[in-house]
Amino acid sequence: MKAVVIGAGVFGALVARELTRYDLEVTLIEKNLDVGWGVTKANSAIVHAGYDDPPETVRARFCAKGNAMYEELSKELDFEFKRVGSFVVAFNDEELKELERLLKQGEKNGVPGLRILERDELLSMEPSLNPEIKYALYAPTAGITEPWMVAIAAVENAVKNGLKLVLGERVTGFEKANGRVKKVITDKNEYEADIVINCAGLYADEIAKMAGVEYVPIHPRKGEYILLDKKLQGLVRRVIFPAPTKISKGILVLPTVDGGILLGPTAEDLPQDMKDRPITTREGLEKVRSFTKRLVPSIDLSLAIKTFSGLRPESPQKDFFIGVSESVKNFVNVMATRSPGLTAAPAVAKYVVEELIQEKMKLQLMKKESFDPHREGIKRYASLPLEEWQKEIEKDPRAGRMVCFCNEVTEKEIVEAIRRGARTLDGIKFRTRAMFGRCQGGFCMVKIMKILARELGVDICEIRMNSKGSWVVNGKVRE
């Protein structure tokens, strides 16, 4: 039996991996040149506790469940996950009512450990917070991760378990017969399919339209961010939310897994034709600045190292749209994957495979004995104890050649990232964090281009930042 998953974001990656547990031929098709470059690469990276979603929503059904799976998943797949906890803060008694509402909602959703803290306690836990804050809803189970790494790690592990990964091909249509999809058609190939899972993120509605199945219209809801230097490590230790408003969870301050501080996101609904334009704006960044300064007054934007924006796949229902199609019986939609999609994805992936495919579609899938859930991450030599690092250098001197100074990435890590499939500068960046630090590639980008060209056996002019059109250098100065 053949399963085709469309889209290698966090959903497609985890669904594909889940499928490789079974005796199936699984193919994952992604239009970008690498995995995790859609919505999954630009978001808040929070593994939400799960108090935020009204209990009747699909979001609520999967959020706390997904959160509970992250611990083990991060160990199996060797990506960073830190259960740092979160605060929702209240400046006054009216906002306190919001916290109380969230607390009740969270308890209904099965979120453990929620409690409301008063000023002294919350300030002793987070001394940088605005002293005018009176209360905080504390959710100890909230966490942070590296979202693209979840997708990269899941795909690597799935490939090890037999997944066929197809990069740089766009799904353009389907061949159907007897109310079922027979083939998935891309701009380059055709793939036979007994099961199709649509995980195309912002474009999932368009894929659904191509297949003639039910869908909800998706529009991008933009969130802009400012990332601050690691120098501020510890400014806040937890995810700090303001009390929520009707439209969003608000603009937050949170630590990133590698010690930076992230500010954002805004929430702005954009027309459907803006799905490929995650732009930042002056107004958006100004909003991020002023809103987060209210939470943490000492925030210093002279320590900004970059700004970026992400697009939430939002629907009018503001809820995930997940299910087997009524009209095309072998087609599964995982659609409208807005927040808390990153959190919910592991639970959704299990649900798709165990309940939708096996129960609802009544397909008997055989578990593979050979399935190995473990993936080893790329070793970060500079974080090893010195004696161990020394041994690694004795084995391979490239482990002692530092390429990225800001984030301490050695040549060996770069080469290993290429071995695992990085073909572009962003591919290296998301796998190793090289070019991701304070100087943003000022010292190492050229070196990395040379290593890429050498390892891939191509001219340096062939190196791309990410997509085909994102060339970096243009020919020789002189022959």
Binding site: L227, I393, V446, N474, V477
Partner: protein, 403 residues
């Protein structure tokens, strides 16, 4: 392993320090994280180095070569591709492809230079396409790697590096549509404005900045607008430039990472604070060059490196003695370096003014002198004879406008 003086960074400052420390009789170890010595000089292939020190105009690589030759003569061999993981108490952890070594040091000279302010930190809105380079990266691509960054470029920032890069791009066959500067005056030396822009008909847009970058994959265009005195864009002044390359020359930032928790900073230069002998607030750590203050001229960096190297060696021999007299920035002084005076060595002050002045009187302790045509882009270097400093318990440095 133990050495008398370890020098981190083999740019102009580090090489000069190593040479003087060795001549002073110390056993030295010079380490460099790049694959060669010379630092930023390697990629500066234009003329303009050494007029003070050698009374001769050299290119960057030629200037570096002179010091490399001197090191060869003295038997100083730099360890390249060497990464300093950490500086502890008189101990440095060094990582190379040969392994990891703990090195005990009598004194350290920290000479790691500056880094470029990255595009991301400017918080310019828009897309995030390829084709945006810092000036140093563009310079390195062209001058060392022999590759062009694009076809049509705009330069953001009119410091010397931006100006020099504008000319270089044109000379190598690229089109440069302009240089954009948010200040009402150019950031670089006047001679560079003339020789790099005017001679090549490259327009300079003052009081302007890039307010948006556009391009889905590669850069396609940028929007430039005029700014008011607080650098806010003025609506209605936008102008679109179709380019594929944006070169960002937004300034250099002294690198502090390794010594951040070990030494005091100079609040005016944002670099490591030192005395006039290069000693920092931690007695065994000396520092010189662009990590103490960003210098216009390599010659100055060399002098500073020499002093730091010499006194680091003397420190190991126990020959550095005497109290420190604090030097305080006063009126109109944007940058003042050094921050302490130890009377065992004459005081050389480096000063940048806050704003352009036709005529200004520099006052430092009991010393006074009038200078003409003072601009923030040109660093003043002034030797202050000892007699003007005698008996002072602090030295205030200020510049009075003379009208």
């Amino acid at each position: 392993m133990r050495v008398d003086v370890m020098i981190i960074g083999a740019g102009a400052a580090g090489m000069a320090a190593a040479i003087k420390a060795k001549e002073e009789g110390a056993e030295v170890l010079l380490v460099e994280r790049d694959d060669r010595t010379g630092g930023i000089l390697n990629q500066c292939i234009h003329n303009g180095f050494g007029l003070h020190y050698f009374k001769q105009e050299l290119t960057g690589p030629e200037y570096a070569e002179r010091f490399q030759e001197k090191m060869d003569k003295l038997g100083i061999k730099a360890v390249t591709n060497a990464y300093v993981k950490q500086i502890g108490n008189r101990e440095v952890i060094l990582v190379t492809e040969k392994g990891i070594e703990r090195i005990e040091v009598g004194a350290l000279v920290y000479a790691v230079g500056a880094r470029e302010r990255p595009f991301g930190s400017l918080m310019i809105p828009g897309d995030r396409p390829s084709g945006i380079f810092t000036a140093g990266v563009a310079q390195r691509l062209i001058n060392i790697e022999n590759h062009l960054p694009g076809k049509r470029a705009l330069i953001l920032g009119s410091g010397d590096i931006g100006l020099i890069m504008a000319r270089r791009l044109v000379l190598e066959g690229m089109e440069v549509v302009g240089v954009v500067e948010r200040l009402p005056y150019p950031g670089g030396l006047l001679r560079n404005v003339v020789q790099c822009l005017e001679d090549y008909d490259i327009p300079l847009y003052l009081s302007s900045t890039v307010v948006e970058v556009r391009g889905r994959e590669r850069l396609e265009e940028v929007v430039v607008a005029k700014v008011d005195e607080s650098f806010n864009p003025i609506p209605g002044t936008e102008k679109v430039f179709k380019i594929d390359t944006l070169v960002v020359s937004a300034g250099l930032i002294p690198q502090l990472k390794l010594v951040d928790s070990l030494v005091n900073k100079n609040p005016t230069s944002k670099g490591v604070a030192t005395s006039n002998i290069g000693q920092t607030s931690t007695d065994w750590i000396f520092s010189a060059g662009n990590c103490t203050a960003v210098f216009d001229l390599v010659d100055y960096v060399t002098y500073e490196g020499e002093t730091a190297g010499k006194y680091a060696a003397k420190f190991v021999k126990g020959e550095v003695k005497g109290g420190r007299i604090p030097i305080k920035p006063g009126k109109n002084a944007a940058v003042v370096h050094p921050l302490w005076y130890i009377p065992i060595e004459p005081l050389t002050l480096y000063i940048r003014v806050k704003r352009p002045m036709e005529k200004g009187r520099l006052v430092a302790g009991k010393f006074e002198r009038v200078f003409e045509d003072l601009v923030p882009s040109e660093m003043l270097r002034v030797r202050i004879p000892d007699r003007y400093l005698e008996g002072l318990d602090e030295i205030v440095v200020s510049i009075e406008e003379v009208i």
